[in-house]
């Protein structure tokens, strides 16, 4: 308190100011008496209302007022990028999200994705049926004006556990070119899926280690060199030596990461989650063929006299 008090005496009061754009950039090098760690101009924390750039840039976590860009969310500048330190999930078409079936309706399923948005999986184009409480991973097909989310290509995840993390930390859990998630999978042997909504689903014997590692990433999400530290931690826990994080050449965005079994089988290598996957569900034993009721004895392909 003393130091803060002392440094204040150097500040000249600017008195009343008017106008929304009258904001000023926070001095990156405060008075010498300021006890805070000195942050360089390239790596400073910006608070809502702080000016980030003097040119209009429309990025997440910012708003443009007049000719300048101001932060709207607590973030950190990193060169000419802005890394969010806080934030909520903004659903985008193409994102993979994980949730559980919270209601079964005539036309489809309500899916709880742990966000304020209402997610719905229509059963119109679905060849399988789900029941209450089953965990699915699905792609976002469409986001309406009022942020209702329509899902497509669902796939059931069986016998695993879910962990909620902050959605803005998901990029750290996946890592650059999937390096973090690959390390987690390789070193723990677990099958892991990460939803853009911040749900991590995993199964395997080492689940307590996965939880420990994910909590470590959550706590240190704003630090650098995290992958190395997590790998070191996992190596110490598992006794595995000589491991270097495996990177995927395809971009991580959009598609969710594959399980280690898929990656090793050859046929799965480099495959994106797409329509083909829908036909492989039954082999994996996850999804059940849809019960169409009545006395229908066999499935007929669509478009040949088949009526719903």
């Amino acid at each position: 308190m003393d130091e803060v008090h002392a440094s204040l005496s150097g500040v000249q009061s600017s008195g009343p100011q008017t106008g929304v754009t009258g904001s000023e950039v926070r001095d990156p090098k405060p008075e010498t008496l300021d006890p805070r760690p000195q942050t360089s101009d390239h790596n400073r924390i910006v608070f809502p209302g702080d000016k980030v750039w003097s040119t209009p840039v429309r990025v997440k976590g910012c708003y443009v007022s007049g000719e300048a860009t101001y932060a709207s969310v607590l973030s950190q500048t990193s060169g000419d990028r802005l890394v969010l330190l806080r934030g909520f999930y903004d659903p985008q078409p193409g994102d993979a999200v994980i949730g559980y079936v919270s209601d079964v309706k005539f036309s489809g399923y309500n899916v709880e994705i742990f966000q304020p948005y209402h997610a719905f999986q229509s059963s119109k184009e679905l060849r399988f049926e789900y029941s209450l409480g089953e965990v699915i991973i699905a792609k976002i097909k469409e986001v309406s004006e009022t942020r209702s989310v329509d899902l497509e290509y669902p796939k059931q995840l069986k016998d695993g556990r879910m962990l909620n993390v902050e959605p803005f930390k998901v990029p750290r859990i996946v890592g650059r070119k999937n390096s973090m998630i690959n390390s987690l999978k390789d070193l723990t042997g677990a099958e892991i899926y990460v939803g853009a909504n911040g749900v991590v689903w995993f199964s395997g014997k080492n689940s307590s280690l996965v939880i420990k590692a994910i909590n470590m990433i959550r706590e240190e999400a704003h630090t650098t060199g995290l992958t190395e530290r997590v790998v070191k931690f996992l190596q110490a826990e598992t006794g595995i030596e000589n491991y270097t994080p495996r990177v995927d050449e395809e971009p991580a965005g959009g598609s969710y990461s594959r399980s280690p079994g898929d990656a090793g089988s050859g046929s799965g290598e480099g495959r994106r989650y797409g329509s083909r996957d829908r036909y492989e569900h039954r082999e994996r034993g996850g999804d059940r063929p849809r019960d169409r009721g009545g006395d229908r004895r066999s499935y007929k392909p669509r478009g040949q006299g088949y009526r719903r």
């Binding site: 308190m1 003393d2 803060v4 008090h5 204040l8 005496s9 500040v11 009061s13 600017s14 008195g15 009343p16 100011q17 008017t18 106008g19 929304v20 754009t21 009258g22 904001s23 000023e24 926070r26 805070r36 760690p37 924390i45 608070f47 809502p48 209302g49 702080d50 976590g61 708003y63 007022s65 101001y70 709207s72 969310v73 607590l74 950190q76 969010l84 330190l85 806080r86 934030g87 909520f88 304020p116 209402h118 004006e145 009022t146 942020r147 803005f168 706590e219 704003h222």
Partner: protein
């Protein structure tokens, strides 16, 4: 104009005895300001010591704890979440629901002793209005943002402490905002304008004006006045309030920055000191 924080508070007497004595003395014409010094030894432009901690609750989306003189205020932010009741939800944006409550043990008086009352409903309302004008509610249609503020100990100026705490908690939660909000009250005591009125000055002074200010935009987001002031007195008080807001904004930013610069061990020690 310089607003500074007072570092020592003299707590020599039992507050209950102090109160009784004070009531009697006030009737006998006790001065609230003697030789330019206030009851607790502060100058007219001096704030009580303020301490802010951000991110103190694990399960809230955002939280903050503020110690302001003898005031202790805890704020928690939940949301955006599903709006309840559902018919309140607006397709045009999130609903902001602030709830200011006083703990039943927060003061010697009957504040908060019987649940929400007229005063706490009013404060909840003015807080909601202040935050409505800085939060980008349109980003989260059909949802609500719940801000809970609990006054654990009160000594005058709790609504300002509550707004400061809620502002830090909202930023900690990651709610997109145009600006941060700082709040401070000035008062007219013994014909003199003072910043940050304590309880006795508030109760026995001539006027009390809580102000909430947009930290960067300098917009006035809340202005209430209890009492009568001249134009000059108002200007003088606002000048105090603006420079106090600058100082408080700095403390708010410090608190948020500390969430990222302190280690887990340091955080634990901070918690034990509280």
């Amino acid at each position: 104009m310089m607003v500074s924080s007072m570092n020592q508070v003299s707590e020599t007497q039992n507050p209950k005895l102090l109160k009784v004595d004070f009531m009697a003395k006030k009737k006998d014409g006790l001065k609230l300001i003697v030789d330019g010094k206030r009851l607790d030894g502060r100058a007219a432009d001096q704030l009580r010591p303020v301490r802010i901690e951000a991110h103190v609750l694990n399960d809230a989306n955002g939280s903050a704890y503020v110690e302001w003189g003898k005031n202790r205020v805890l704020a928690g932010v939940y949301g955006p979440q599903e709006c309840i009741p559902k018919h309140d939800a607006s397709p045009y944006g999130a609903l902001i629901k602030c709830r200011y409550t006083m703990a039943s043990f927060c003061s010697l008086e009957e504040h908060g002793r019987s649940g929400p009352n007229r005063r706490s409903i009013e404060i909840s309302k003015v807080m909601t209005d202040a935050f409505k004008s800085v939060i980008f509610t349109e980003y989260y249609p059909k949802t609500q943002i719940a801000v809970f503020v609990e006054v654990l100990q009160s000594d005058g100026g709790t609504r300002c402490a509550a707004i400061n705490a809620a502002s830090v908690a909202l930023v900690d939660a990651g709610i997109p905002m145009r600006d941060m909000v700082t709040a401070v009250a000035f008062a007219k005591v013994d014909d003199q304008i003072v910043i940050d009125a304590a309880k006795e000055e508030d109760n026995f002074g001539q006027a009390d004006v809580p102000v909430a200010i947009g930290a960067n935009s300098k917009e006035i987001l809340l202005l209430q006045m209890d009492g009568i002031l001249s134009k000059e007195e108002m200007q003088q008080g606002m000048e105090y309030a603006y420079s106090a807001a600058e100082y408080l904004h700095r403390l708010q930013k410090d608190a948020l920055e500390r969430v990222f610069t302190t280690t887990a061990q340091e955080k634990k020690e901070t918690f034990l000191r509280m």
